[in-house]
């Protein structure tokens, strides 16, 4: 049953994607209307700061970690066998 729901959603991937972008829009708009407590640092005062932080942090983390893995840390399965 659960599998059928998921199949149903996968066939309508555009709608799911639309909902996701709508959520992103909502998250940013929500940040405009809320009441802000006393800020801990400058980021707390900028509207939409955490959106930018989330996106950049995610992209940088993927690029840096994957990059380090490719050029340095990565080994074929079990490097200690030989």
């Amino acid at each position: 049953m659960i599998a059928r729901w998921i199949d149903y959603l996968r066939e309508r991937a555009n709608i799911v994607r639309g909902c996701f972008f709508a959520f992103l829009l909502f998250a940013v708009i929500f940040d405009f209307v809320i009441e802000r407590p006393k800020p801990h640092f400058f980021g707390d005062t900028i509207i939409g700061f955490w959106s930018l932080f989330g996106l950049l942090a995610c992209l940088l983390m993927i690029i840096i970690c994957k990059g380090l893995s490719h050029v340095w840390l990565e080994r074929k399965e079990d490097p200690y066998d030989h």
Binding site: A27, H40, L52, G54, C58, E74
Partner: protein, 587 residues
């Protein structure tokens, strides 16, 4: 006496472990597995403040010291034992259950210990018992990983013991309580290093991602809950407010997620997330305010449950498909949807989604860093949160249940595994929607309300845009069949080099020395022996024989003087008296 013995929850688990083979013989092993943790859990509500004080060799050992901090850890440990045992019901081998019970017993013993010696005994019991949870997987890799795990923990235990000895030498009474940062020296820091090894703090963390993925499916569920969280408990008890811990913790949080982003094996990803999440707790201990310490206790509770849930999810997939590498999995949503839903609940809970336990516990530590104006820590912890959501919230479920269809057709996990996952998922959501259930157990007085508009907004944005990042980079994140080097390289390579050194130069030197001995040493020894033999015969024997001969001839002479006639003796005596008188008068 017997009733007093069973006040201690550890006794139940030790009894449970000892009688396990009988329970199996009687066919009631499954009932036994559930009854024992439930009995232990019932016990913790009625513990006196202090019990089991024993005098041994002049030391006062305290097996039971109970306060609110002890209680919350005992509560989650016994609850986890119930869930873990239900998850393991289908395992027939008694040995695995015995190891798990002794491991839990050790963990409860450490939590209740009122002095360092009692703590150390149970600390070692934990390390010893948990090794069997790795060995019972019975693969070559597991056996090797188990040995490494045991060696590393033995080394850590020795460091801890050295710290305890130094504490004793400096006049400490060995009662287990708060140590002060001012004037802390070798003793305190050695104890801290011993604790940090079990908390898996880099650079002494590599045992964890090395061992946990090689443990048995059910063993890993126990292991992820007890070792590191017991370490968090002892750090919380002894080292609150040590600044170095705040820095170590924040680095741990980032180190763990960085590896989780690049790893391929599902259980290794989760193991790195243990490092990361325990980092939050170690950081909280270092911040040391009442709110931070409450956050540590709350996060330890929440973490044990959702991390176990994740390990159960990945373990169920491994049990049913025989695979745990993301590169070999994919498209399982059709065949294992229930496991998927529970694992995703675990995934969003670890990420700190609203309405899950992570949201109400993790944010306490982050907020405590903010209130304490430690902006760098704050940003590091939030950054680690982004990585957590990226790797466990999205990447792990996506590549197991969606992604490229691997063609693996499994059946759903057995009922008991699903029940255990359902229980853990229930706790994750319960704390999310009703935080008071968790907050009422917290040991310190500090007010915190997680649900306010700005916190929600921050969370929505972070997770929404992290999701966008994943969506943009999904091709780049495609898992490959590789593993990444970590700091265990030093001792794993180091041991190989040592063996090479032992086989090469050391053996060569050994042979050379024995050759030299054969050709020179042996002859020299023989010549020396001959020389000694000659000296013995010609020197010592001659001297001894000679003196014996002189004594005999002296004896002969004396015998001839003895005539045996009385007048000779009287004459001699008179002569002697005359000579004596002459001497006296003349001088």
């Amino acid at each position: 006496m017997i009733t007093e013995l069973f006040v201690h929850p550890t006794s139940w688990f030790i009894l449970g472990a000892l009688l396990m083979p009988f329970a199996r013989r009687l066919g009631v092993q499954k009932i036994w597995l559930v009854v024992i943790p439930l009995l232990a859990m019932a016990t913790i509500y009625r513990l006196p403040d202090s019990f089991g004080v024993v005098n041994y060799l002049g030391f006062e050992l305290q097996f039971g010291r109970v306060d609110k901090l002890t209680f919350i850890f005992l509560h989650v440990f016994t609850l986890m034992a119930v869930i873990g045992s239900i998850f393991a019901l289908q395992v027939k081998e008694s040995g695995q259950h015995i190891a798990a019970f002794l491991y839990v017993a050790g963990s409860l013993g450490v939590t209740l210990a009122g002095d360092y010696l009692t703590l150390f005994i149970f600390w070692e019991l934990m390390a010893f018992a948990s090794t069997f949870l790795i060995w019972y997987r019975k693969k070559k890799r597991s056996i090797e990983a188990g040995y490494r795990y045991l060696l590393v923990h033995t080394a850590g235990g020795l460091v801890l013991l050295a710290g305890i000895f130094l504490l004793y030498q400096s006049g400490h009474d060995l009662s287990f309580g708060i140590l002060s940062q001012e004037g802390a020296g070798w003793a305190e820091y050695l104890v801290m290093i011993g604790f940090l090894l079990n908390a898996a703090a880099p650079p002494i963390h590599a045992w964890l991602p090395d061992a946990y993925p090689e443990a048995t499916v059910t063993g890993a569920v126990f292991m992820c809950a007890f070792t590191t969280k017991t370490a968090v408990y002892v750090l919380l008890r002894a080292f609150p407010g040590f600044e170095v811990l705040a820095i170590i913790g924040a680095c741990m949080a980032l180190y763990g997620v960085a590896y989780a982003v690049i790893e391929n094996d599902a259980r290794r990803i989760l193991a790195y997330h243990v490092v990361s999440q325990v980092g939050y707790m170690v950081c909280g201990v270092g911040i040391g305010t009442a709110m931070a310490l409450n956050g540590v206790a709350a996060h330890a509770y929440a973490h044990i449950i959702y991390k176990a849930l994740l390990f159960m999810g990945a373990g169920a997939v491994l049990e049913m498909t025989g695979r745990s590498k993301l590169s070999e999995l994919g498209g399982l949503y059709r065949t294992m949807p229930v496991t998927m839903i529970f694992t995703i609940i675990g995934g969003i809970a670890i990420s700190g989604f609203p309405l899950t336990s992570g949201f109400v516990s993790k944010s306490m530590i982050v907020a405590a860093a903010g209130y304490n104006h430690q902006t760098v820590l704050l940003v590091m912890l939030i950054l680690a949160g982004v990585g957590t959501f990226l790797s466990v919230g999205i990447k792990l479920p996506y590549f197991i249940w969606f992604g490229k269809d691997s063609g693996v057709r499994a059946t759903e996990a057995p009922w008991n595994m699903q029940l255990a996952m359902a229980m853990a998922a229930f706790v994750c959501i319960l704390f999310g929607v009703y935080p008071a259930a968790l907050y009422n157990m917290l040991p310190f007085a500090a007010e915190y309300h997680p649900y306010y508009a700005y916190h929600l907004s921050e969370t929505f944005q972070l997770f929404g845009f992290t999701g966008l990042g994943f969506y943009l980079m999904v091709k780049y994140l495609q898992p490959h069949d590789v593993s990444n080097l970590d700091l265990d390289w030093f001792y794993r390579r180091g041991s190989v080099q040592f063996m090479r050194f032992a086989k090469g130069p050391v053996t060569a030197v050994n042979e050379w020395v024995s050759n030299v001995y054969q050709s020179i040493g042996l002859r020299l020894t023989k010549a020396l022996a001959r020389a000694f033999s000659w000296f013995d015969k010609e020197g010592i024997d001659w001297t001894i024989d000679g003196s014996a001969r002189s004594i005999v001839s002296a004896g002969d002479t004396v015998r001839q003087i003895q005539t045996g006639r009385i007048q000779h003796y009287i004459g001699a005596a008179v002569l002697a008296v005359v000579v004596l008188l002459l001497v006296v008068f003349l001088i």
